[in-house]
């Protein structure tokens, strides 16, 4: 690991100021992605700004029809939260299926969403549930936030403070996990909302998480697994790697989507 200066701000304002002041600053949340990257010398930030002591970024609450989760809430706390289990159980199960217990004790929702790994689980929930990403500067709709793998709408000195998930009528997330890391080879989140059905796919897209609009239309007309019969997901634009070819991923999307719909009804 290359040397860096370390900062522990206690407020969002101080964290943003430290980030803006640094030559090449990086926020660290749970560190479960960033620290392995630093250990492999794949990044060499001048400054690390640790969000661990920013209390205003923690916690889970409800606000008129939405579940609101602070950026620094770890996966284990989302999985165990009574509020999350009651209002969006699919989200609690998703968080409880990330990595392993020690990853879940450190890794955070803010870090996962900001990182936008194409195989991460949370982006499927954020996009599939039509969440709003709140930052120190503005609110960003999920549909505008994810902009290709490891790329988001966040500006260099912008940080996620909370994520607000509108509570759906029903939702389920089903993933085909990589047997070693538990990252999604394919993960599908299906949500039935007042505004129609949303289907978000992670793990498969060469540009990261995306919505399967043809599936959404079919499910809005008939919310049943068989409504997805005959919808072929093209393998163009899907990832192929040592874990799964793009054709296999295309096939898995159909299977996981049907299972997710079945889990909703």
């Amino acid at each position: 690991m290359y040397a860096f200066d370390y900062h522990q701000p206690a407020s969002v304002a101080d964290a943003a100021a430290a980030l803006a002041a640094a030559a090449d600053g990086k926020l660290v949340a749970g560190g479960m992605t960033l620290i392995p990257t630093l250990k492999q010398r794949l990044a060499s930030p001048s400054d690390l700004i640790d969000l661990a002591r920013v209390d205003e970024l923690k916690g889970i609450g409800e606000e008129s029809g939405s579940l609101v989760i602070g950026a620094m809430t770890c996966h284990a706390d989302v999985a165990a939260s009574d509020i999350v289990r009651r209002s969006i159980p699919a989200l609690a199960r998703l968080a409880g299926g990330i990595g392993d217990p020690q990853v879940r004790n450190r890794g955070t929702i803010g870090g996962s969403v900001a990182n936008n790994d194409p195989a991460a689980d949370y982006p499927a929930a954020v996009l599939g549930l039509g969440a709003t990403i709140r930052t120190n500067k503005r609110d960003i709709a999920a549909d505008d936030f994810f902009q290709g793998m490891f790329t988001t709408a966040l500006e260099p000195d912008e940080l996620i403070t909370r994520i607000a998930f509108p509570v759906p009528q029903a939702a389920a997330y089903v993933k085909f996990p990589n047997p070693a890391s538990r990252y999604a080879v394919v993960g599908v989140l299906v949500a039935k909302t007042g505004g129609g059905v949303r289907v978000a796919i992670t793990g498969a897209g060469a540009d990261g998480v995306f919505r399967a609009t043809e599936m959404e239309q079919a499910l809005s007309a008939d919310f049943s697994p068989k409504a997805l019969d005959g919808i072929a997901i093209p393998s163009d634009g899907l990832n192929g790697d040592i874990h799964a070819s793009s054709e296999y991923r295309a096939h898995l999307i159909g299977v996981m989507a049907k299972r997710a719909v079945a889990a909703c009804v």
């Binding site: 690991m1 860096f4 200066d5 479960m32 620290i35 630093l38 217990p101 990853v103 450190r106």
Partner: protein
């Protein structure tokens, strides 16, 4: 260099460290607590698991400065002062839950976190919990047996709660 202070196995410690020092390096190289192992570069094997404020974490994926002011427990903090093994350690020995022993410190610390929150896990829950602990020797079978035996022993001896 920043100074970090924390409680490790009940003792207050304070050292100057470079910010890039990993918690596991701090424990092994600065404090000489070499029971915590490093088995991978990818945060996947769990040989380095310790407790920070009572929760199991991978000490290879946390900086020492991030543990400033926190309470850390390592494998060296598990046995009693007179050397009597913690019931989880005893169960691993009894059930042949180790061969080379490299993964064992991380296994024991991970299991201690499990049993604190779930004193009566099912076999399936034990296997799922150990997702982040890799053993290249045992085939896991006897590890799972050891965990179930430890759970039973701890339920019988409430004074010896996990950790």
């Amino acid at each position: 260099m920043p100074t970090v202070s924390m409680t490790v196995n009940g003792k207050a410690v304070s050292r100057e460290v470079e910010p890039r020092t990993l918690l596991v390096q701090f424990l092994r190289e600065h404090l000489g607590l070499t029971g915590t192992h490093v088995g991978c570069d990818t945060s996947q094997c769990g040989a380095c698991v310790v407790h920070v404020d009572g929760r199991s974490v991978k000490s290879c994926t946390m900086l020492a400065v991030q543990a400033d002011g926190r309470v850390v427990t390592t494998i060296e903090g598990m046995a009693a002062a007179d050397g009597t093994l913690h019931p989880i350690q005893a169960a691993f020995r009894e059930n042949h839950g180790l061969q080379c022993g490299f993964c064992t410190p991380g296994m024991v610390m991970s299991v201690a976190d499990l049993l604190k929150n779930n004193p009566s896990p099912t076999e399936r829950e034990v296997r799922e919990w150990l997702e982040g602990n890799i053993c290249r020797c045992t085939g896991y079978h006897n590890i799972v047996k050891a965990v179930l035996a430890a759970a039973e022993a701890l339920r019988g001896a409430p004074a010896h709660a996990a950790e």
